[in-house]
């Protein structure tokens, strides 16, 4: 039933492939890096030296060499519409590479690895793989590509989560992550299949065209959409698809927790934005959605639920990592607000918020790791009196938390500011949603401040005046992150210009 392609066609295919490769260099480079790391690991077997980590770091940094030139390339799709290159995708390429690098850095700082695992083995390779996967998520323009990249990320994440093989929590986290992830990706694929069935297309842009042109069965559309949302929601960890995240975040090695809570979340958002904006036909206004399925109100519900649930439940947490996990659920809600608005400003705000979130969350996790190195605990009660013994860490953590709350003069504040600005720009349409955001952020203040409260206001039970001095590089990184967070809180023009520049999606014109 399928007739074979003629020679000319094959020629054409090969030609276009050749053309496309030029757009794909960073990914290729990173794949090479991935293999290189494995090779190095095989050669330097078992030995614990910084060779791997340094290579990973340098390698990731090297990818900029391939990413930067892509700015000059025209936005467009290639590999037969599988893959796009646009400012939006570029933004996330930077984002993920840098988060990969930060992950490597804080991994180097984490002493838990020394005790838990014998060799770093394929750890860094997997981190790189995850980075690749996330980059592809951000740039994929086809259901198939989405599925592949998502799975690539997930698989590496499963392994990384369970990387502490002898650690109960780590393994348990891996299992939960695996089961939950597998199911939801399965559902998503099923949803894809339905979409494919209705449109006979897998390319987002053409799907959108199809849906707009010919009708479709609303019922099937609903089902498909919900299943797809389930898949995306699991990635961004939004209520009600968040359940895996607290356990996974708590169990996973802290650097991986950071990576998951920032990068893979961001990848999920990238995916969501692209799919939601590109594949779903829209009128000028977001609320003029196609009949039958109402992404808009769906996302509103999810956002509101995430903000409330995340913040409210976080009030109860005694484990700092778990607390940050819940806060990340809440932040998913805040970021969604920006997507819901669905105009240039909204997207810009979303991207900006992601950047701010990136800074403060990595910072927070980094300090948590440093503290855990000294105290060997992530429990809130063990933070008592730390302000005296490690004032710098205390100050840094406080800044990051303040930024998470969204108070000036920090990047987090600007993020909230822009999100709310985007909403109020639509008039009184989103005021209620904005109010929820505001109120929940007041609630969040309480549990975030619990940490400084324990560090500074309370005396440690064992009144050992031993000051836990941190290594110089650790201090430098911490101070750098803190400084950046505050700097972008006071002068955020560059960030937001970058965000604005990046808020251009191929195949969709935003208003």
């Amino acid at each position: 039933m399928f007739e074979l392609p003629s020679g000319a066609e094959i020629q054409a295919i090969i030609a276009s492939l050749n053309a496309s490769v030029g757009y794909f260099l960073p990914e290729i480079y990173l794949s090479v890096l991935f293999m290189l790391l494995i090779v190095i690991d095989l050669m330097a077997k078992g030995r614990k030296n910084n060779l791997l980590s340094i290579t990973a770091l340098a390698g990731l940094a090297g990818s900029f060499f391939f990413i930067v030139p892509q700015h000059s390339m025209p936005a467009g799709e290639f590999f037969f519409g599988m893959y796009v290159l646009d400012e939006f995708a570029l933004f996330f390429k930077y984002f993920f590479v840098v988060s990969g690098m930060l992950t490597v850095i804080i991994t180097m700082a984490d002493e838990q690895f020394d005790s838990e695992v014998r060799s770093m083995g394929e750890y860094y390779a997997l981190v790189v793989a995850m980075v690749i996967g996330m980059i592809m998520m951000a740039s994929s323009n086809d259901l198939l590509m989405i599925f592949l990249s998502m799975e690539l990320v997930s698989f590496s994440a499963y392994i990384l989560t369970g990387y502490f093989k002898r650690n109960l929590q780590s393994s348990e986290a891996a299992l939960k992550y695996l089961v939950y992830g597998a199911v939801s990706s399965g559902l998503m694929v099923y949803g894809f299949s339905l979409i494919y069935g209705m449109t006979a297309q897998t390319n987002l842009i053409r799907i959108s065209a199809e849906l707009a042109a010919h009708g479709y069965d609303p019922l099937v559309m609903i089902l498909a959409t919900l299943l797809i949302i389930a898949g995306f929601g699991y990635k961004i960890g939004a209520v009600p698809f968040h359940f895996w995240s607290p356990d996974v975040y708590e169990g996973a090695p802290t650097p991986i927790t950071a990576l998951l809570s920032v990068a893979s979340k961001a990848a999920g958002f990238a995916l969501l934005v692209r799919y939601y904006f590109v594949s779903v036909p829209h009128g000028l206004q977001p609320y003029e959605d196609i009949v039958g399925i109402d992404w808009h109100s769906l996302l509103i519900v999810i956002a509101a639920a995430s903000m409330i649930y995340g913040n409210v439940v976080a009030l109860w947490q005694k484990n700092v990592k778990r607390l940050l996990a819940y806060s990340s659920i809440a932040h998913a809600g805040y970021i969604l607000l920006g997507i819901i608005v669905m105009d240039k400003l909204g997207t810009q705000a979303t991207l900006f918020y992601l950047l701010a979130y990136f800074l403060m969350n990595f910072g927070a996790f980094y300090v948590v790791i440093l503290i855990a190195n000294k105290t060997g605990s992530e429990n809130l009660d063990d933070y008592r009196g730390l302000g005296k013994s490690m004032p710098l860490a205390g100050a840094a953590l406080t800044v990051f938390l303040i930024s998470l709350v969204g108070l000036p003069p920090t990047a987090g504040f600007i993020g909230k500011l822009m999100i709310f600005a985007a909403m109020l720009n639509k008039g009184s349409l989103y005021i209620v949603l904005a109010l929820i955001g505001i109120l929940t952020s007041v609630i969040s203040l309480y549990y975030y401040m619990l940490i400084p409260l324990n560090m500074f206001l309370r005396e440690s039970p064992q009144s050992g005046e031993k000051s836990m001095e941190l290594s110089m590089p650790a201090r430098l990184i911490m101070v750098a992150l803190m400084a950046v967070t505050i700097y972008f809180g006071l002068y955020f023009a560059p960030l937001s210009d970058f965000a604005k520049y990046s808020s251009a999606l191929y195949g969709m014109t935003m208003h």
């Binding site: 240039k344 400003l345 401040m449 409260l453 500074f456 309370r458």
Partner: protein, 545 residues
Amino acid sequence: MLSLIVFLPIIAGLIILAVPSSQKQMIRVVSLVAALVQIVLAIVIWRGYDPSLAGIIAAPGGSPAGSFQFIERVPWISIDLGTFGKLNIEYFLGVDGISISMVILTALISAIGVLSSWPIQKQVKGYFILYNLLASAMMGCFVALDFFLFYVFWEIMLLPMYFLIGMWGGPNREYAAIKFFLYTLFGSVFMLLVMIGLYFSVIDPVTHNHTFSLVAMASQENYIKDAILGPNNVFWRYVAFIVLFVGFAIKVPMFPFHTWLPDAHVEAPTPISVILAGVLLKLGTYGMMRINFPLFPEVFQASLYVIGVFGAINIIYGAFCALAQQDLKKMVAYSSISHMGYVLLGLSAANSEGMLGALYQMFNHGTITAMLFLLVGVIYDRAHTRQIDKFGGLASYMPVYVGIVTVAWFASLGLPGLSGFISEAFVFVGAFSSETTRNIAIVSVLGIVFGAAYLLWSLQRMFLGTRKPDAAYDLEVGSDGHEHIHFHDWKGKLDLDGRELAMLVPLAVIIIILGIYPMPVIGLLTTSINKLVTVLSPVVLTSMN
């Protein structure tokens, strides 16, 4: 100039950061020097200030230059937001009659605070860094003319305050600190929404861009008619007004949002109480005068009576609560609730006398209450208790202290010849002259009596009479046949020592001078106040819309 006075403390803070934490004296001295320089700058500004310029709104032609003074205006952040113009945030400082007195007050109180922080021994370095941060933020709030900038300063104040109360406070400090933090934050987060809403509703007459400039926002013709907070959007304008008002009222603090204040005061160390009562509370009413009222004049006119009623409640209610307190500091805290009620009442009068009284009351309350808290601190340092009935007869043994106490106490109960009286008097004059608030004024006058009641009563119980049997100090007959008292584990001078005098005497002098001849301060305010009243008057509004 203004930048200097704002950021001087932060600079000091940075210097302190470099000083090793063992050099306590060094750290204190640095802060003190910074504070003194700040005072000098404040005096320079005061001398250089031209009272004939009105402020409040821009000069004809839309530029603030002809109306505000010491203006510093540089674009801070300017981002192209595509479809709807640019996001313009300016670094925009300036003073007019409303802020000038507050600037002076802030400089003064900060310096006093540094002096009274001298005895603090615990984590001196951290303390003074936070303290200087706080001082900068306060000063910034008073001179910022860009809403965004104002908001940033406003929020920056919270954190140092939280730690200063929480780390150097009394036994129940955690509770007080978090309570303060949550209350004030709750007040301010909604301000954020209003701020954004205003941004989209206001056009700068000069640049024709949206703007955060409070000056532009203060004149109604700059509003886009149909914008979310434009004149046609009445409902949301009311909502915004209420939101802002609550935000500021929490800071004032206005009944029923006042309950954080007594806790905060009781737990906070003396200098922080001084700052809190002396400056922070003023920010609430200042915000009302600078932002809340001029931006929504018609709503303000509509809600005069309500504001007045709340003012009256504050006055009477605060006085009664103070009457019942056993803890001296708590009594003083409630007294400042009562006194801030006068400010609200004066504002609700919406005429020059009332507004001027209110503004002048803000200044006087700053000096007087600072003095009260310092005096409470003095006795607390010695006796380690503030229970009123643990004293008695101190007048015989600490004459200087009690002498100053008498000045402060009578200033607080509004004795003529001391500054507090004039402001309260004009608040009443204004409130009574306005038809709307006349009845409220008549009721609030009772506050005068009860104010006198709790103050005199505490005066009698603590300082007059003779030593109570269970007093916090021992009585002994010295070699010279005279009686002496001594407090347990108090090594210092029994009566006021030099440092304490250095804090108290200047305040007392100011209070007396301004009580006899208020023009030095009032002269700065009148033009602006009259302007403000004009801006708020319904006549002008009708002419505008």
